[in-house]
Amino acid sequence: MKSIKTNYIPNSALLFLIIAPFTVLFYASYVYNPQNAGHKVLYIFQLFADTIAISILASLWITILLDLFQPEHFKKNFKYRKDWLDENLPTVDVLVPVANEPIKIIQETLLNAVQIDYPHKTFVLDDGNSEEIKNLAQSIGINYISRPKNDKKYAKSGNLNYGMKFCTGQFVAVFDADHVAKKEFLTKLLPFFENENVGLVQTPQHFINTDNYIASGTAQAQEIFYKYVQPAKNSYNSAFCVGTNVIFRRSALDKIGGIAMRDHSEDIWTTILLHEKGFETIFYNKVLALGKAPETIRAFFRQQNRWSRGGFSLFFTHNPLFIKELTIDQRLQYFFSNIHYFSAFTILIYLMFPIIYLLFGIHPMNISVNNGWFIHYLPFFITIYLLPWFLLGSIRLSTITTSTASFAPYLKAFMSVILKNPYKWVSTESFTKSWHFIMFDIWPHLLIISISLLAVFVGWYNPEDIVNTSIATVWVLINSYFFLIFIFKGLVVTR
């Protein structure tokens, strides 16, 4: 079994590979030319935002491109014999860390974890000390472990490490409370471990609750990651663990002192530590567990905040570019993953520019020259906005709105990483009440909507330039519509 990625790459993705350089260069040649600068301060912001946007787009582009054209001899060779499993019969523990999630969800996960096709021990690691779960575990016949209160130092990583003290298996599979394993999970994945160097095998997170608006947006954004980015990272031995639907080699974990003790994003830290010790990681692109994406704004922001905190803290405290033990490919791939979260600044700046133009009549570019800026902007923005269409063949309003709205949790995470605020871990699904201090989460969006609408009035009061004012108006109205629909759909949760 030489290649494990889906060989099929849609033509639209090739189209993206071909046209993206043109639109980006066309745009960059205009923006990076100081002769086209308008308002000086805004121009600096513009350059900052564009540099981030172009870097992120370019990193995605080069990741897909290099993986597509990677010569056969360069690709990782995978040992994969099904017989190895029968010959060796390794022992496996399945761990399900839970923390106050609804009992219904936990029950489904546990029942399915027990029914996985290979002999294994199942553990539920309860951080909520719930009697209900204890009884549930007893009735199903699985092991119930709860950390003593004085030992609750780290969140999920602490829980997992405490649980692993009671496990003896050679391999450890981990499922989050809202991820339901398929029966063939272990039999499909364990043979990869015949190669002694393999430290972990990861499978995609696949979300099935796409009838929910916010969840469907997350699901599609994640799909790009699991369909293109992770397989490409896999080719460079830099696929990383995402915390669930994963099997670790216990001896590898023991070598790095267990799961990395962090309050958040212990998954990527653990992977880096494994890579530093020379272990390989495998991403197997087949859905072997069905998960639920966050359905409320609160839960969604919480999740995005956790992920971006991981990205930022890695970037600022343990920047993968400078880890000597990693190969250059791995360093680059980790770096690419990190910079994604800086898109928050780009989104915020792009949101503010048309508003500032309408309010104060200033613009980062010299807009009086024949609308040259608009001609250069348009193809670039179309490339960015149609990215899901290029890569996945479909585009959902929910994807665009959720990814635009997530600038707020990213920035919040950035601030807390910079200010070194401690993180309080609460599980994704614990927030089911949607109207609970919701304003703490959505005030930036509401502020942008309300300023946008007022800015339209200010802009059309004796407008200096009808064409540019019209463009700015359309632009702020589209953004406001995105946020309005995001807030509305997020508040009215359909189950």
Binding site: S368, N370, W443, V458, Y461, N462
Partner: protein, 253 residues
């Protein structure tokens, strides 16, 4: 109870957000009204005045100079007096032979030459440079003064194509001089032929503007900075409240 409290806190935050955005946009609107018809863009240029060099008409020593640099002069005013004692002696001697036709002619020539010892300002303007000092000897046709004329004062601006188009559409063009804190009305006079020297302004058009009221130019200095205010046409400024109500009525029609 908890629900009500949550609702109230959320509501308060909504109100704060809305008030904040009202504050920002009110500020922006008031700025916009304030700037009204004033300045929409500023282009820097220079004042151009006609240079006149005053040369000596006769040979002699500079006896006295009546003006200093920067002073204003009127046409016909005496700028300096030259002295040529040889010529004066000659005139004196010649005046004794009034009967002699030749001497008479000579005397007239000498008198004209003596008249030429008076240096007179040929223009209304101001003195930019004094080339000789008192006591110095000067030959005929030597440079004595550099004057700048106060008549036909122009302003030169280098404009991009679109700026030129925009400005030539305007009904009223005004320039501003910050030294005098004065606004002046100007009109486009002529385009400057492109020369090799204009390398730095290669893609721009040199445009001369002349003053609508020529006497305004008296106080401007040659070469000093002047700002072109490219105002849009004067619009009827609406009252903002009127504007908003008008907009709404358009929507509801």
């Amino acid at each position: 109870m908890k629900k009500i409290l949550t609702f109230i806190i959320n509501l308060v935050l909504v109100v704060i957000v809305v008030l904040a955005s009202f504050a920002v946009s009110t500020y922006a609107l008031s700025k916009k009204i304030e700037s009204g018809n004033k300045i929409s863009s500023r282009i820097y240029g220079n004042v151009e005045k006609k240079e006149t060099i005053v040369i000596s008409a006769a040979r002699g020593n500079v006896e006295s100079i009546y003006y200093s640099v920067g002073e204003e002069v009127k046409r016909g005013e005496k700028l300096a007096q030259l002295k040529n004692s040889e010529l004066e002696n000659k005139a004196e001697v010649l005046s004794a032979f009034e009967d002699n036709e030749s001497a008479k002619t000579e005397l007239e020539v000498a008198k004209v030459e003596i008249e030429g010892l008076e240096v007179i300002s040929p223009i209304n303007g101001y003195i930019d440079e004094i080339s000789k000092s008192e006591g110095e000897f000067v030959n005929p046709a030597a440079k004595l003064f550099v004057l700048f004329s106060n008549e036909n004062t122009r302003a030169l601006f280098y404009l991009a194509d679109y700026e030129y188009r925009k400005i030539s559409d305007l009904n009223e063009i005004r320039v501003y001089n910050s030294r005098l804190d004065q606004y002046l009305d100007v009109v486009i006079s002529e385009l400057k032929p492109r020369t090799e020297k204009d390398k730095s302004n290669q893609n721009k058009i040199g445009v001369y503007f002349k003053l609508q009221n020529p006497s305004d130019g008296e106080n401007l200095l040659h070469g000093e900075d002047i700002i072109l205010l490219a105002d849009e046409e004067k619009k009827q400024n609406q009252n903002p409240i009127e504007f908003i109500t008008n907009t709404w009525t358009i929507f509801f029609k």
